[in-house]
Symmetry: D2
Subunit: 384 residues, 4 copies
Amino acid sequence: MHKPCRRIWVTLLVFCSITVFAQPKPRARDLGIPFDGNPGTWNAITDVKGVEVGHTTLISGEGKLKVGEGPVRTGVTAILPRGKNSRDAVFAGWFSLNGNGEMTGAHWVEDSGFLNGPVMTTNTHSVGVVHDAVIQWKVKRGEPDMESYWWSLPVVAETWDGVLNDINGFHVKADDAIHALESAASGPVAEGNVGGGTGMICNEFKGGIGTASRVLSKKEGGYTIGVLVQCNYGDRNQLRIAGIPVGREIPASKIWDDDTGSIIVVVATDAPLIPTQLKRLARRVSLGLGRDGSYSGNGSGDLFIAFSTANPEAISSKGVRHLTMLPNDDLSPLFLATVQATEEAVINSMIAAETMTGINGKTVIALPHDKLQEVLRKYNRLTK
Amino acid sequence: MHKPCRRIWVTLLVFCSITVFAQPKPRARDLGIPFDGNPGTWNAITDVKGVEVGHTTLISGEGKLKVGEGPVRTGVTAILPRGKNSRDAVFAGWFSLNGNGEMTGAHWVEDSGFLNGPVMTTNTHSVGVVHDAVIQWKVKRGEPDMESYWWSLPVVAETWDGVLNDINGFHVKADDAIHALESAASGPVAEGNVGGGTGMICNEFKGGIGTASRVLSKKEGGYTIGVLVQCNYGDRNQLRIAGIPVGREIPASKIWDDDTGSIIVVVATDAPLIPTQLKRLARRVSLGLGRDGSYSGNGSGDLFIAFSTANPEAISSKGVRHLTMLPNDDLSPLFLATVQATEEAVINSMIAAETMTGINGKTVIALPHDKLQEVLRKYNRLTK
Amino acid sequence: MHKPCRRIWVTLLVFCSITVFAQPKPRARDLGIPFDGNPGTWNAITDVKGVEVGHTTLISGEGKLKVGEGPVRTGVTAILPRGKNSRDAVFAGWFSLNGNGEMTGAHWVEDSGFLNGPVMTTNTHSVGVVHDAVIQWKVKRGEPDMESYWWSLPVVAETWDGVLNDINGFHVKADDAIHALESAASGPVAEGNVGGGTGMICNEFKGGIGTASRVLSKKEGGYTIGVLVQCNYGDRNQLRIAGIPVGREIPASKIWDDDTGSIIVVVATDAPLIPTQLKRLARRVSLGLGRDGSYSGNGSGDLFIAFSTANPEAISSKGVRHLTMLPNDDLSPLFLATVQATEEAVINSMIAAETMTGINGKTVIALPHDKLQEVLRKYNRLTK
Amino acid sequence: MHKPCRRIWVTLLVFCSITVFAQPKPRARDLGIPFDGNPGTWNAITDVKGVEVGHTTLISGEGKLKVGEGPVRTGVTAILPRGKNSRDAVFAGWFSLNGNGEMTGAHWVEDSGFLNGPVMTTNTHSVGVVHDAVIQWKVKRGEPDMESYWWSLPVVAETWDGVLNDINGFHVKADDAIHALESAASGPVAEGNVGGGTGMICNEFKGGIGTASRVLSKKEGGYTIGVLVQCNYGDRNQLRIAGIPVGREIPASKIWDDDTGSIIVVVATDAPLIPTQLKRLARRVSLGLGRDGSYSGNGSGDLFIAFSTANPEAISSKGVRHLTMLPNDDLSPLFLATVQATEEAVINSMIAAETMTGINGKTVIALPHDKLQEVLRKYNRLTK
C-alpha cells in the first residue's frame, strides 16, 4: 500500500521532501549553455531581497494507478514576496498568454494593483485545497488582510501532473500548503522535481521548478529581476536552447501531440514599478518563452504574475501614500532582463529535473546533459 | 453546541435547507414595483430551457462566534447551464466590473469561449472546497472534460457573509457542493436566504439569491434572458427601486460605510451568441446595477458571467463545428433585457430575503415590504 | 450656397461658435431636477483645477444635403488636462463599455498610464483630420512629447452626427481643431449644441456637450471629480431622469429603433490616483449611464477616459519619480462622485441643447423643460 | 527643391513606387537561413486566398531636413482581407504586446469581432490622413458599411520613420492611401523599402515590409496562415536569426539605445476561426518575435491583428448566421504556423530592405547578406 508521505514530512523530510538548500547539481550555465545578462548571487528569484520560496514535495508509491492511493508525484510551492513573516502587500500585475489554466486571485490583483499574500503553485486538481489552506494560514496568524478587509483572495496557480501523479486522488492536503509557506526561505532555490513542480513535464522531458535572475548595471539602476517557473509546457520538436532546436536531435518518447501542459511564471523585482508597469513586465515573459521555442498550444495554461518589493506599506490605508516609480523610459532593461531570466529559468528547470517514473510505470526522462552538450557543441553554441 | 447541520441535510432537508420549490412569498412585482419588459414563466434564470439551479443552505447555531463551531449562515448554489445530466459545454463570456472577488475558471472561459461545467456560488472562504468538490463530482461521473482534456477548471464565485456567518469556520464541505449540484432542477428558483446567498446582505438589508427573466418579442427573435444574482453589495443610501432612492427613506441600522460587499451575476440565454457577444452581454449587467443605484465600491467584487445554451456540441473536437450566430445588429434587445432582468433580480433577492440573526446576535433586517410600498406610493411609482 | 463658416470664426465668432462663457440658460438642477452630491463652483469639469475646455462650433447651411457643401452641424471640443500652456502629462486610464466608436491613442494610455496631450472630441468622420491637427499643433510649438519621444499618439474620440450634419463632407479642418485648443479656458463650460457636440442627439432629443462636477467632503479628502460628456446615445423609451422614465411620457418623433449613437465621457480629478485606479474610475461611468437608463446598444460607441491632475512631472524621465497615491480604501467616494457627475452631465447636455434643424430639413427637438418638469412633478421628483 | 513625387506616381510609378510584382531579389530562405514549416506558393500573406496587398511608396529629396519639403522616405500599405472589390467583412481579433503605437478601429474589432475594411499601415504622423482617406474611399464607392451602419471606423496602424523621413512634413496624402487600396493585388508581395515600410528600421538595420506564410498538412486541415509585418523594432544586440544572436557579430552604427521602434503584424488565415480564436492567434505573434530576439522595449508599439477569410457574409444582418468554427483542440498547429511565419516575415523584411539614406544624410545599412551567411555558417545554421 502506497500512502503519500505527507504525514511524515516533518520528521522524514529528507525522504519525501527535497529541501530548500542548494543542490550540488549543475545548472544550465554550469553545462556551458550561453545566456545573456548578469545573474544575481543565487541566479534565483530569491536574489530579489525579501523573496522567500518554500516547497512541499510529495513522492510515494509506485506502479499501477489506484485513484486515491497513488502513485503520488506532486507538491506545493510557495513564493512569498516579502517573506513569510511580513503581512505587507506588494504592487503586482499579471498576464495570461493562454488561459487554459488557473491563477486564482487574479481579478483583484488586476484591479487593486496589489498581491496581498503568497503566490502558491500546485497541481491542477489541488487548487482548491491550497486556496483554503492559505486562508486558514492567515486566519491562524490572526491576520486580517493588510487592506483592512476581512477576506482573503489567495493567488493559487497550477499545472497538470496527471501523467505521473494520481491527480484525481487529491493527495495535497492543507498542511502541505502550510508547510510550504512555513518552510519558505531566502537563498538558493531547489529546482526540478520539487514542490508544485514535482510531477511536471517540460518540452516532453522531465520539468518542474526552475529559477534565474538578472542584475542590471549601475547605470541602468542596479535593480534585480528574479523569475521562478513551474514548467510543464511544450513540444520537444520546438524546444530551443541557446536558440538551437535541440529537442529534435535528442531522442525521447513522445508524450503529447502538441504544446500541451502549462507554465506558471512568477517575476519579482526590487525596481519601484507601479501595477501598470508590472503588468507589462509580466507580458514580457512571453518573449522569453518564445526564445525557448514555445508556441503556447491550445492546451497550455500560460499565466504570469509580476510583483515589486519596492514601496513597502503602499497598501496601507492610513492616508495618502508616498511612492516611488521608475520612469517608463527606464523600463527597457527590466523588460530585457525578464526575457533573459525567463529563458534561463525554463532551461534550469529541465537541467535540474531527474528522470521520474510515476503512475502505471510511466517514465519521463530527464534532458540528458551530455547529449545536450553534444548537440550545442555541434552548433558552436557551448561556452565550455 | 451548535454543529452545522450539513450531515443531516438529506434526512432533515426541511429544517436546514430551503428547498428549490417556489415559495408562496411575494416577489418584487407582486408588491406593485414596476419593471419593464416581459418576464418568462417563472421570471427566473430557469426560463432559459435546460438551465437548472440547486441550493444547499446551511443554517445552524446561535449566539457568540466560536470559529469552527458557528453560528453558520451560509451555503452553496449551483447553476448548471444544460442541467446536471449533460456533459456538454456552453459558449460563455465574463466581465469584472470590480475585481474585489473571486471567480475561478475565468481565464479559460475568456480564451476558450466555453463554460464547461456548472457555475458555483458560495462564501469567500469556501471557494477552495467547492472548487475541489466540482472536480470530484466530475471524476466520480467518470467524466473527462468534454474538451477531451483531462483536467477541470471549475467556475466558482463568491461573496462575503462574515457579518452573519462564521466564515473562518469553513463550514461548507465538499458534500454540500455536490448536494447543490445533485439537487439542481428547472422550474421556480428559491430566492433570498438560500444557497450561496444564505448569509448575504444587499444594500444594508438582508439579501441573497435573486432571479428574473425576460422574453423578447417574436419580432426580436423570441429569445429568453435569465439572470441570477448572489447579492451582497451596496449602500442603503444609494439603493434605488423603480428609480426612487428608497433606501434613505427606510430606516435600518448602518452596516458599512460604503458600497462594500459584492455581487455575482449569472446571465443565461438561448439566443445563439458567440463568446465575443456573451462578453458584451455580461458587461451590460453593470447598467442594470446602475439602475439600482450601485456605484461598485472599492470593496465590492462585482463579477458577471453570461452563457448561451444554443449551439450544443460546439465544444466537440470531432471536426469543424457548425454554429449559428445572431447578427450584432440584433443584440440590442438582448442587452436591454439583460439590464432589465438584472435590475429586477437584485430587488427580488431583497424582497425574498428574511430578517436574519447571525454571529454575536447581529441582526440584518429584511427590506420591509409595506414601508417600501409606502415610499414608492409617495412617488407615484407603485402599480397597485 | 452654404459654405461652412470655419474661415470666419475668428472675426465672427459670435455667429458660428458658441463661446466658452457661461450661458444664462438654466441647467438641469436649475429646473429642480434632484441630483445627489455636492457640485463644484461651475458644476463643470473645469472645477478640477487646471483643466481647460475649448470648442469650435461649425453651423452653416440649410436644406438639402449636398455632400461637401452642407448643411454643416458639427465641431470640435478640446479638453486639456493641465491647460493649453502645459506640456506635462497626466496619469490616465480608459474603458470601453461598447467599442462601436473610436478613441485613438488608447493603447498607449493603457500601457504607459499617461495621457500626454489633450482629449479631442469631434464627429466620426473627422477623427483623422483632428488627429493630424493635434500633431501639427505640437510640432508648431516645437514640442517633442514630454516623454522625450519624438512621436505623438493623440487621443481623439468621436460620436456620429450624420442625422443633422453632412458628415461625409469632411467640414472639420485642421484649423478648427487648433482653434478649439487655442481657445480653451477654465471657468464655465458651454453646453449643448457646441463643439464636438454640435450635431449630436441624446435619447432621441437634441444632445451634445454636458458637464458636471462633485466635491468630496473634507473627511473624504476634499477632492474634485469633473465629468464632460459628448452625448449622442440612447433610446427615448429608456431615458430616466431622477430615476423616472420620463422619455416615454414626452412625445417626440422616433429617430432610431434602439440605443444607437454613442457617448464619449471624460473624467477629471485632482485626487492622486495612479493609472490602475483611474481605469476603475473610468469604468464607473457605466453606472452613471445606467442611472440615466442607458443599455449601451450595439450601435453605441461608449468610450470613457479618466485622468488625474495630481503628480505633476510624473512622466519626466529624469530619475525615479516621487508620487502620491490615494489608498484603494479611500476610492469609494470618488467612484460615487463619478457616477453622480456622469448622471448629471448627460442630463445637462440635453437641458442645454436647443432644437436644431439640419440636413434635408430634419429637426431634432430639445427636451422640453416645462414638459419634463411636469412629468417629474407628477412623480414628486421635482425639488421646486 | 525636393518635392515628394506623389503627384506623379501614376505615370512614373517605376521611379517612386516599387511595384507589387515580385523582385528577383533573394529572400531569407534563399540565403540558406533555416525556417520550420511549409510555406505557401508565394510565402506571403497573399497565399491566403482573397487577400490583396497594395503599396504606395514615397521617396524623394535628399540632404538636409526642411520640414514640409523633405527628404521623403515613407508610404502606405493596404491589406485587404477579401480584396479591394469586396465589401464583406471578416472575423478578426487583435492584441497589443506593447501599446506605444496606434491601431485605430481596434475597439470595434474587439467588441464586434469583425474587421470591416482594409488594414492600413503608414508612418506615425500620417495616421489621420490615411484614416480619413479610407472613409472617403468607402464613401466614393457609395458604401455604407456592411454592418448597415453609416459610419466607418477604419483600421490604421503605424510605425515611426522619423530617422530617415521628414515625418512632420506630413507628406502622405489621401490620394496615396487610395492608391495603395486601388493598386492592391494578390500574388507576390513587394518587401523591404516599400509602402508603409519605406523608411523603417529593424534591429538597427534597414527594415520595412516583410511577409511569409505556412500551409498546414492535410491532417491538420490544410489551412494557410499568412503574416505581413511592417518592421521597425529592435535592438541589434538582441537580433536572433535561426536562433543565433547574429546582430552582435555584424557591425553597424548604433541607432538607438534599446528596443525602440515598433512592429505592426497582420495575420491572415482561411481557417474558420471565430473572434475569440483570432485574438489568440494574434497573441502568438509575440512568440515569433521572441524567437527573433525581441524584448518589446518601452518605446515599441507592437500591435497585432488577425483575421479569417472563412465565413463570408457573417456580418450580414439578414437573420441568424450560419458559421463554421474549428474546434479549439485543432488550434495548436495554427498557433505554431503563426509563430513560424512571424519569425520568417521579420527576417524577410530585413533581407529585402536596401541601404537607405534619408534626412540629413543619415544612412541605415541593409543587413549584409554575405556577412549574415558567414555568421550562420560559423554556427552550422546555414542550409546551403
